[in-house]
Amino acid sequence: MYYLGLLIEYLKNYMKTRLTYRADFWVEVISDLLFQATNFIFILVIFMHTDSLGGWNQNEVVFVYGFFMVPFGVFSCFVNMWGFSERYIVKGEMDRILTRPAHNLFQIFLENVDPPSLFGSFIGLIVMAISGSNLGLPFEWWTLPMLILLTLSAVAIYTGIYTTLTSLSFYSDAPTGILPLMYNIQTYGRYPVTIYNRAIQVLLTWIIPFAFVGIYPAALFLHRDEMRTMALLTPLVGAVFLSIGLMAWSFGVKRYKGAGS
């Protein structure tokens, strides 16, 4: 309850700062959508030259992309760790966070909430609806609850991975350059992982499990039975990676000594 109150306060605060830079809000929404559009162009270009990508047709790949956008939007809204090490460690703001009563990671999430990202989730749902109806996908009783469950699990996976990577900045002095590079890799989880060779499949499934935020859960709605087991594993993978992330974080915080002025 206390945390919910904090969330509302921070959102109010966010609105106030945002109203100062009003035009900027729309610039961000539009740039977000353009970012998604460029990925979309890639899929469309691919299917101008081929009918199937590893046995998946255009509508299916577009549907997977639509699903991918939903958890990614939610994740970008609530968990934004971009620039953590510069802002909190190099400039010493972590000290301020640690002297406050609420959980430190939660505060960092709150200070970086980014509601415009949710537009992406919204567009993702529309993309799913359009390509789903092109494919004639049935709307089952479990579709909606599963969508919510799998979205939350995917958000947990993202949060786990990025929290783990961010907590590395407690151990090394260098501003970590891994995060931006990861942003490239996560998009590969949208494509049918079966086209990759074994090593990359294992990597995208078990080590940095980005296949679980795109292709596997989406396969459930597409009734691709070969991936059903993997789709149902998503919540478990989410729980495991979120725990790893939180553990890495709390070890890191214990090691934190404070820097900056």
Binding site: V27, E28, L34, I46, H49, L53, A174, I185
Partner: protein
């Protein structure tokens, strides 16, 4: 005076060297990028022989060379500049007796040289070992490629500088920076070679500067463009380098009139 600028290259190179551990992970991640793109293209080719004028072997080489070129020319000058603008430290930099934009360019070059040695060369070696990459054998192709690579760096950095300086006009240019990043990756031909785009789009892209960053040098290096065509490619790169100087000079000038410090 010029010596001072060279020092900026040297200092940035040494700074990067202090953080070199980051780049070991960078090599792995770039190799993974090449791998994923390689397998995606193989799935797209299926049994087909050629796609948009690229044979399968040329595509493999193109993917590897493009990603490795990115390992060299990529930098965060846009972010550095907009941070300077937002925290107000640009005011100090403007009154110092040097040209701010030129200094940023030199720092970018220092970073580029570091990335060339620590990321591009080792990454290239790994990519050659893992994937069927066919590199040209004539020394002239290599010499030409290095010159074009340098222009890729110049043009990409110029675009970064323009994006960074735009923070003077839109107070928060986070969105623009993100957009620039994706647009450059997609429209420079890194993710999809430009010949594969639909005709209307590729004809638009032919009059934009992005193709000069990745697509044109990559085409030369995979042997799709030969002979006189190589000079054309170089000519296009030089022209874009010169054209992009205009908005930079203008922005730099306009920024001095507009400067208002938001904090710091």
């Amino acid at each position: 005076m010029l010596g001072a600028y060279f020092d900026f290259i040297r200092i940035r190179f040494l700074t990067m060297l202090a953080y070199r551990v980051n780049y070991y992970s960078g090599i792995l991640i770039y190799t993974l990028n090449i791998g994923v793109n390689y397998f995606t293209w193989r799935a797209i080719y299926g049994d087909g022989e050629s796609l948009g004028g690229f044979t399968g072997a040329q595509m493999t080489t193109y993917v590897a060379v493009s990603w490795m070129a990115r390992a060299f020319y990529f930098n965060n000058l846009d972010r550095e500049i907009s941070t300077d603008i937002r925290d107000g430290s640009i005011a100090i930099q403007f009154i110092r007796p040097y040209n701010y934009v030129l200094v940023k360019m030199m720092q970018g070059l220092g970073e580029g040289l570091f990335r060339f040695m620590m990321l591009m060369i080792p990454g290239m070696v790994i990519a050659i070992l893992l994937f069927p990459v066919q590199l040209p054998t004539e020394p002239s192709a290599w010499a030409g490629f290095l010159v074009m690579l340098f222009f890729s760096f110049l043009i990409s950095s110029q675009i970064n500088i323009i994006t960074g300086l735009s923070a003077f006009f839109v107070e928060n240019n986070e969105g623009m920076m993100r957009m620039k990043r994706v647009v450059v990756d997609l429209f420079s031909g890194l993710i999809v070679p430009i010949t594969l785009f639909p005709d209307w789009l590729s004809s638009v892209l032919k009059v934009l500067p992005f193709q000069a960053i990745t697509y044109l040098p990559g085409s030369v290096f995979t042997g799709r463009v030969q002979g006189v065509g190589i000079w054309n490619v170089l000519g296009i790169q030089v022209i874009w380098f010169l054209i992009l100087l205009i908005p930079i000079v203008w922005l730099n000038h306009a920024a001095r009139q507009r400067l208002f410090v938001q904090g710091g």
